[in-house]
Amino acid sequence: MSALCDVEAPPCDPLARARALHWLLAGGLALAAMASLQVGAVDVSLSAMLAKLVQGEALSQMERVVLLDIRLPRLAMGVLVGAALAVSGAAMQGLFRNPLADPGIVGVGAGAGLGAILAIVLGAFLPVWVIDLTGNQLTPFAAFLGGWGSTILLYRVSTRHGRTSVATMLLAGIALGALAGALSGILVYIADDQQLRDLTFWGLGSLAGASWAKVLSAGPLIVLSVGAALMLGRGLNGLALGEATAAHIGIDVQRMKSIAILAVAGATGAAVAVSGGIGFIGIVVPHLLRLASGPDHRALLLNSALLGATLLILADVIARVVIAPAELPIGIVTAVLGAPVFLWILLKRRGLVEL
């Protein structure tokens, strides 16, 4: 759309355009989902299996295992994690009024990382009943607790007299991140070789460990948190004018900030817990969408969920096939593809208008 329309042009309606994009992105997600079910180390034909199911034939044992126990939960987890990360990024950028914000800023990343490292390095010293209690999912469980705990801590530090200072939260987040990094460093120092390997892989992120158990444990919280974040569109639009003006146009700013922070902590905490540290989805996806269809959060949040899910499962497909039968950590794929795209955006936008 040209920035300089002629005098006679009717007022543009970017929201309608952005809402039309919902359907396009949903179609893209469906195609990516089919690719994700089709592609992998074992060659199974999705169309052949669908034909069998339609004709009432039973699937072979291997087809059942590959489709229902491996690829379908992996697809579901990819959709959940991608949507969670992208929506969290869009919500944080709106909340901090800063296009460079991402969920890491509210301490989820640092806290979750520390939790995971604690579990990997010191988990062996815990009594067996604690490990049983987490259903043998100690690392994700600890990551979630760490992410959630650090967010609550940051939120409390930056809230005085019922008002949350976004600037204080940013600064306290940096301090907390440094502290968590230092503690993690100590743990890395005492870790043995196998633990170091586990740490590295966890830090790069992967959907390889996907199972229905993980989908069911992280899914409800992600769905709830993303659902809550999708309601924030109007409020985040107002907040673009600043907190005082947002209040003047009738937005309960404090309540909105609380919902945004809790939703991001919930969505990102759960996503990081089951998939490790996957970067760039939260920052690249909202940017691409703002370039394509404007910054109106009423459409941006849902579009972010759709595009985030699509890109993550495509990245997962790439991670599965490039060095098959082995797999790359998905964080490597998102960073290798995401970083150049991000730089390209910065170059393209530089000097034009403020991001």
Binding site: A3, P11, L239, H248, I251, G294, D296
Partner: protein, 260 residues
């Protein structure tokens, strides 16, 4: 059905910015708040708009604003801030529509374009807000604010425009345009409170003037009552002389005396 501020006190740390100020603004009138830098003008408007913690009481159309919800307040009064920075590259028309979604004209999609036309920027609708000059941005924000209280009177109750230095970055033609918009809003039954720096525009367009100095109200009344040599010289701490040439009868202020 007025806007009444009673005994407003605001402290920034140990410093008292407002030391018990009363202000009554009536619908149908433009009420100006003037005073030197740091006298508490914007702080008083901040208290009236509930943007900062204060002691005292503000009643809007008979109701204590402390007991009103943000959306309830937003339907009764709109606030124009001194300066606006916008975080993302919204189009001008989108910014103006932000006023629509909180006001009570929400079901009238034609209002944002009418508001933009009112501030003379209808042809800017599809521009990106960040491309605008300071004065244009201020007028777009005024259009947004007008959207929010498009009808000056609704359900028999006046609605309010609260303007913090509405003409600070405008050229003289647009200063007159914006003040005329405020006056017309008041003539149609709405209420206007404006923090002003320009004493001549204040004299031209306001019905009541409150003069603030050092956190207190020095004088309150019609422009001829308040804009006097003595009051202004006391408030601003320099010798000012008010003159009223016979034909117009409207006071105007000469800064020449201060340098004499």
């Amino acid at each position: 059905m007025s806007l009444i501020a009673e005994n407003i006190r605001v402290s920034y740390g140990p410093r008292e910015a407002l030391r018990g100020v009363d202000l009554t603004a009536a619908p149908g009138e433009v009420t100006a708040i003037v005073g030197p830098n740091g006298s508490g003008k914007s702080t008083l408007l901040g208290a009236i708009t509930a943007s900062l913690p204060f002691r005292g009481r503000v009643r809007l159309n008979g109701r204590d604003i402390a007991a009103m919800k943000p959306w309830d307040l937003a339907a009764k009064r709109a606030v124009l801030p001194q300066a606006s920075r916008l975080a993302f590259p919204f189009k001008v028309i989108e910014v103006v529509r932000l006023g629509l979604q909180s006001g009570t004209a929400g079901d009238r999609p034609e209002v944002p374009m009418q508001a933009l036309a009112r501030v003379g920027l209808a042809h800017y609708a599809n521009r990106t807000f960040q491309e605008l000059s300071g004065g244009e941005a201020q007028r777009v924000m005024l259009a947004r604010v007008l959207c929010q209280v498009w009808a000056p009177v609704e359900d028999g109750q006046p609605r309010w425009l609260l303007l913090d230095e509405p003409v600070s970055s405008l050229d003289i033609a647009h200063q007159l345009q914006v003040m005329a918009i405020a006056r017309d809003f008041a003539r149609a039954g709405g209420g206007v409170i404006a923090v002003m720096h320009d004493l001549n525009l204040t004299a031209l367009f306001s019905d009541r003037v409150a003069v603030l100095a050092e956190g207190q109200c020095l004088a309150f009344g019609t422009p001829p009552e308040v804009l006097t040599d003595e009051t202004l010289s006391r408030a601003y701490g320099c010798a000012l002389r008010v003159s009223a040439p016979p034909p117009a009868g409207v006071p105007y202020i000469l800064p020449h005396a201060a340098t004499a």
